[in-house]
């Protein structure tokens, strides 16, 4: 088995259909108000709450997104167990061999294995919840951007990508879904999302702790990792899917992010980058539509 599996080689059964970021970018439809001049127009609210007319379908779609996201998180944590050597431990033969910056501490690997188990349970929970909500496995397209963006060949960048960006997004999503379940009176949804949320807070904290420990004497590497996290956070906020704005279906879970070790400044930075992503998407679609309107007929 190779080290560092390319995202295109993620194995799926026949029910799953993949969609690439390129395909998502090619979709120029939107229900957002993209008329930049109409500042006085009320913004359309898309936050996932039971008041939304399409609430149950919205929740089903998001639940399927959680399901495939958990699969990718499981795969990402699993690959971290395998892709990197364990610092100080014999690779071959009967004696410890030379070490590398890319080696990871034994305890970090144990945490990743623990995360594997947690994510495997989350996949199980997601399958059961999807069934409860009337969604079939593979009913929605799977975007593998989570794995692609998060699985760097540098373990420190991977921690920043998987444990802080991806798992941070999971905190936001689970909080939105937990609140949805609570408001709708759905006993299973609220219960399950709360359990998963507890795990995700742990995973983010794990990532924050390891990032700090591993880069303790290497501020440059730490900065590189945090910069990488910023890039991934923006990618995960694609089109403003997640932000404080009511136009985003998913809100920023400030309290749980704080519990997970994010500072207020860090959360604010994620919000800013998400709003930026939302505005960029509107501008891109408006631009594309304007160009199409002015294109010669025929």
């Amino acid at each position: 088995m190779r080290k560092f599996l390319p995202v295109d080689d993620l194995a799926r059964d026949e029910r799953f259909a993949a969609i690439t970021m390129k395909e998502r970018f090619a979709d120029q439809r939107t229900a957002l108000n993209i008329d930049g001049a109409a500042q006085d127009k009320p913004r359309t609210k898309f936050r996932l709450t039971p008041e939304r007319r399409d609430a149950s379908d919205g929740a089903r779609g998001l639940m399927h997104g959680i399901f495939v996201g958990e699969i990718q998180a499981l795969e990402g944590a699993g690959r971290t167990c395998f892709d990197f050597e364990t610092a100080g431990v014999a690779k071959t033969g009967t004696a410890a061999t030379e070490s590398s910056d890319m080696d990871v501490p034994f305890a970090l690997k144990l945490d990743m294995a623990r995360q594997c188990w947690d994510e495997a349970r989350h996949v199980e929970i997601s399958v059961k919840l999807s069934d409860w909500m009337g969604t079939e496995i593979g009913q929605y397209a799977e975007n593998t951007v989570l794995f692609a963006a998060a699985c760097s060949n540098d373990p420190v960048l991977r921690l920043a990508g998987v444990n802080r960006a991806l798992e941070g997004l999971a905190i936001d999503v689970f909080t939105t879904m937990k609140e949805f379940g609570d408001l709708a009176g759905d006993p299973y949804l609220e219960f399950c999302e709360d359990w998963m949320l507890a795990d995700e807070v742990t995973h983010v904290r794990m990532g924050s702790d390891w990032l700090r420990k591993v880069t303790e004497h290497d501020p440059e590497r730490r900065k590189k990792a945090l910069d990488f996290q910023g890039v991934v956070d923006k990618l995960f906020s694609y089109g403003g899917t997640r932000s404080d704005s009511d136009e985003s279906p998913i809100g920023l879970a400030r309290r749980f992010r704080s519990l997970a070790g994010f500072t207020d400044d860090e959360v604010e930075a994620i919000n800013e980058v998400s709003i930026q992503a939302l505005d960029e998407r509107k501008a891109r679609i408006a631009g594309a539509r304007a160009a199409a309107d002015h294109a010669p007929a025929g």
Partner: protein, 210 residues
């Protein structure tokens, strides 16, 4: 109530624990180091394979079992300093070069249509070898002097039996044709041959007889 000051035997009549055991401190530490190395390699392989198997139920099982074996490695890691090995990494080694080759051969399958080979290596070769090595150790060590190792062995063995059963049942559900049965048998034979050369998880003498 009986007289509390009356002399009683320190070992109750039903307590049949004896001294000594088969392994001294040094030999126990050596074996524990081999166990830890092997459990590490197993949990790493299981984690790595999660992304390569298309079957959703297998994906989830591998993720779960990955942690079980990581936890076993952790238990052995914590036991080593208690066995006078203050640098646990020094004894975290394969029993011999054949063990290294075994792990390489076991982790070789990657393609999505090789789930049978992946599971055969783990559940029909490696885990049965763990069960054998741990059972031998459990039966041979002193229940008095080495009670901490025994406690770990019992906890770990429970996991090994449960995981073996899970994996074997999945394999039986995946193997549907004589050709697939032959694939599993062929891969098992290949891996067993290397394992015979290795002599078991802790090398020759894993099951005594040295």
């Amino acid at each position: 109530m009986a007289d509390p000051f009356k002399a009683r035997a320190p070992f109750a009549p039903w307590d049949r624990r004896t001294l000594p055991g088969l392994f001294d401190v040094e030999e126990t530490a050596r074996r524990v180091g081999n166990y830890k190395w092997a459990e590490m390699k197993l949990f790493e392989a299981l984690g790595g394979w999660v992304a390569t198997v298309p079957e959703l139920d297998v994906k989830m099982r591998l993720g779960t079992h990955c942690y079980h074996h990581a936890w076993h490695a952790e238990l052995w890691h914590k036991r080593l300093p208690e066995l006078r090995e203050m640098n646990p990494d020094r004894l975290t080694v394969p029993a011999n070069d054949a063990m290294v080759r075994f792990v390489e051969a076991m982790t070789e399958p990657e393609a999505p249509d090789q789930t049978i080979e992946k599971l055969t290596g783990v559940y029909r070769v490696f885990i049965p070898r763990f069960i054998a090595a741990y059972t031998y150790h459990l039966n041979g060590t002193s229940e008095i002097t080495d009670a901490p190792t025994i406690r770990s062995l019992k906890l770990i063995l429970q996991d090994e039996f449960d995981d073996w059963r899970d994996g074997e049942m999945i394999l039986q559900s995946l193997i549907e044709t004589p050709e697939e049965a032959a694939r599993a048998a062929s891969h098992q034979q290949k891996l067993e041959s290397i394992m015979i050369e290795a002599g078991g998880i802790a090398g020759p003498g894993t099951l005594g007889g040295m």
